[in-house]
């Protein structure tokens, strides 16, 4: 060994060494993202870093993975899992995942478990540009946003760097990096209803007996039902996003009554089922997600995502690094770099074109056309075709988005997707409801 070394030092820098050095320099440049304009300089060895990002369909998508790998110097390995499998893996084998993203209510499962890495606020570049829903729990006009259900502000900050408790007032430690948010109501078939729908109460209107559906589950279906029950005047709530035992009983009893009277056609679990139900005309009104409405419409079937006077059901998805990545400083840096990249613009523009809002619209705006920005964010009529990320025409010119601009929708949240404190009791009673 020493012999070889001697020989090398005696002959000075060989041609081979020179080549290696040049390759490394090129590699560093490519790896730093300098070529694509991403400004941080990185060590060459980030090329060997692979991050496992396991999340929802909204984020872990081949299009996003391809772009991330193009723009970043390391490899992002994406996997899409349903909530149950993802959660089981996060709890049982957290070391197999570096970054996870999930709906905000799921964050509650991690309180006090020390599985996630608290994020120092100064390492996240876009916090001051993030929608105020996360930053201080307000709407754009400064008014306090609804805290019924799992409002983003409730799980935005950790009390301190241990990450064991949340704080409702701003601190220097973030729980997660906000990615996507949106406001839902229900999808309707205007051709089969033939009159305006303005209130959540219509969900239980006998006129639609046997022709309505709800999302199946206590995190979305129950909030939707609570909106309708409250609008009907059937049940009064203090906080319908976090019910008391008594409120749960009243809610489920009422729901059982409506079920026995034949109000519900079905309860759906998957995106495809919700599309199938309304596209086939089995239901004319149901809780629904925005892209499902679009999917129905692209089949040439009229379907409207209806704004309602009582407000919207809001939801949010955010991403968080796992605690174990801090053991490897290089990996940890790459994780932060990746999370900063997620909200640097490309992904924001991509997700906006599917009908959701990015948490940092300012960064997405330069990458969207004026027509797109006006349609998706400002509630303006489209001036040209609206194209989805896959090149399919979603809307023609002259169409206004249902519900209007971002703050017409996100500024009018009545309840957020939720995981209630009395979840144990609610799941128990939900079983009674399914069995009834």
């Amino acid at each position: 060994m020493s012999k070889i070394k001697d020989k090398k030092s005696s002959s000075g820098i060989s041609r081979r060494d020179l080549l290696k050095g040049a390759a490394a320099a090129v590699g560093t440049a490519a790896g730093s993202g300098a070529i694509t304009g991403f400004p941080t300089i990185w060590a060459q060895n980030i090329q060997n870093v692979t991050l496992n990002h396991v999340g929802s369909v909204y984020t872990t998508n081949p299009l996003v993975a391809e772009e991330a790998n193009k723009q970043l110097g390391f490899t992002i390995n994406m996997q899409t899992l349903d909530t149950t499998s993802q959660m089981n893996r996060l709890l049982a084998q957290p070391e197999t995942i570096d970054i996870a993203d999930m709906g905000n209510p799921s964050l509650k499962y991690f309180v006090g478990k020390d599985t996630l890495m608290p994020i120092p606020i100064n390492e996240y570049k876009w916090w001051d540009k993030t929608l105020p829903l996360w930053v201080d729990g307000t709407y754009a006009n400064g008014e306090q946003a609804s805290r019924q259900g799992f409002a983003p502000i409730l799980s935005a900050y950790y009390a301190d760097e241990t990450g064991l408790e949340w704080s409702e007032t701003p601190t220097d430690w973030l729980v997660s990096i906000p990615l996507v948010t949106n406001a839902d109501t229900f999808g309707i078939r205007p051709d089969l209803i033939n009159r305006p729908i303005e209130s959540w109460a219509e969900l239980f209107n006998p006129e639609f007996s046997g022709r309505v559906a709800l999302q199946d589950g206590v995190n979305v279906g129950v909030p939707d039902a609570a909106m309708a029950l409250e609008a009907m005047g059937d049940v009064q709530y203090v906080n319908k996003g976090n019910m008391t035992i008594e409120e749960i009983d009243k809610t489920i009893d009422k729901l059982i009554e409506y079920k026995r009277a034949g109000q519900f056609r079905s309860f759906w679990t998957t995106f495809d089922q919700s599309v199938q139900l309304i596209a086939s005309g089995e239901v004319v009104l149901q809780s629904m997600f925005s892209p499902a409405v679009t999917e129905v419409r692209t089949r040439g079937i009229p379907c409207i995502f209806q704004g309602l006077k009582e407000g919207y059901r809001g939801w949010a998805i955010s991403a968080m690094p796992l605690r174990h990545v801090t053991q490897d400083p290089l990996k940890r840096d790459c994780v932060m770099e990746y999370l900063n990249w997620m909200n640097s613009g490309w992904y924001g523009a991509y997700i906006s074109r599917t009908g959701y809002y990015t948490s940092v619209p300012d960064n997405a705006k330069p990458l969207m056309t004026e027509n797109e920005w006006g349609y998706w964010y400002e509630g303006k009529a489209s001036t040209d075709d609206i194209i989805d990320p896959y090149g399919k025409v979603m809307e023609k010119a002259g169409v206004v988005r249902d519900g209007g601009g971002i703050w017409d929708r996100m500024g009018n949240i009545a309840i957020w997707n939720t995981l209630m404190d009395e979840d144990r009791y609610l799941v128990r009673r939900w079983q009674d409801f399914i069995a009834a």
């Binding site: 959660m87 679990t269 495809d272 086939s280 089995e282 399914i434 069995a435």
Partner: protein
């Protein structure tokens, strides 16, 4: 290298034993232990807690769930038995050519050529309110309003069970029938027995092991299913297995474990009873 016969048989049994221990016994023990624990948000709290079992035995829900499952089971069992027996009888005693018998048996498996989820979704255009069946019935003037209980009801769940499970009953019965010595039937016929007498006095007693095996398949399939019942009822019919799934989806493992233990005990009890009444070993040994 040579082994004593004793060592050789131990060695031969080892792989299966390992599989049984690590993939069956150990998980079952974990489930059993977890069923006695308390729980929080997606966590099992390791303290002794009887609440999971008390809740099962005290609540009205348990009875409702088992009543629903039992009702569906009885219907599915009866129909698949009738269908399975009749089809097997036709295939074994009336289809003379082995070639056609194989073709017909294969045709029975056609429902399984596609993926389960696709199969579930494809029932909608058939049974839905705007579906083919309703359109046909309305076209023929038999009904004026579409029938809505064809889909997202107990009826649709039972229908799909029958569609999926008839083969599980047919197979073992056909297998038992195939082993019946044809000369016995010939002898009965020579003595002047009619077809019905042959079926009731000879064939049914001889295919009892096949019926027993088929029944065990049906029992375990219906009791263990949460997917079909969820899809075909639009989440409006709840069964013991469905309740377990709902709790797992809410990350409430201990009550799900307790319900699993209760169900396992019940199913094993029924299977043991069937095995006691019918000697399947004799059938398998033949």
């Amino acid at each position: 290298m040579t082994f004593s016969p004793r060592a050789a048989s131990w060695l031969q049994a080892t792989p299966f034993m390992l599989i049984m221990v690590f993939l069956v016994i150990v998980p079952l023990v974990i489930v059993f232990v977890a069923s006695f624990m308390d729980y929080g948000f997606a966590e099992v709290i390791p303290v002794l807690y009887w609440g999971n079992y008390l809740d099962i035995f005290r609540s009205r829900l348990t009875w409702d769930l088992y009543a629903t499952a039992l009702r569906m089971l009885v219907i599915v069992w009866t129909v698949t038995l009738l269908l399975g027996f009749t089809i097997a009888y036709y295939l074994i005693f009336h289809v003379r050519s082995n070639f056609w018998r194989a073709i017909f048996l294969m045709a029975c498996a056609i429902p399984f050529w596609t993926d389960g989820a696709i199969r579930m979704i494809s029932w909608v255009p058939l049974l839905g309110r705007e579906g083919l069946v309703n359109q046909a019935l309305m076209g023929m003037g038999i009904i004026e309003q579409p029938i809505s209980w064809l889909l997202y009801s107990e009826f649709s769940v039972v229908l799909v069970y029958i569609n999926m499970l008839t083969l599980a009953m047919l197979g073992p019965i056909a297998n038992s029938m195939g082993k019946i010595d044809y000369s016995i039937i010939q002898a009965a016929r020579d003595q002047g027995a009619g077809e019905w007498q042959i079926i009731t006095n000879i064939i049914i007693p001889l295919v009892r092991p096949g019926i027993a095996i088929g029944s065990i398949f049906i029992l375990t399939a219906v009791m263990g299913d949460a997917f079909i019942v969820k899809m075909m009822s639009g989440n409006q019919v709840n069964t013991p297995a469905g309740a377990i799934m709902t709790e797992i989806a809410a990350f409430q493992y201990p009550p799900a474990a307790a319900k699993s233990v209760v169900m396992l005990v019940l199913v094993i009890g029924v299977v043991a009873t069937i095995l006691r009444v019918v000697d399947i070993k004799k059938e398998l040994a033949r």
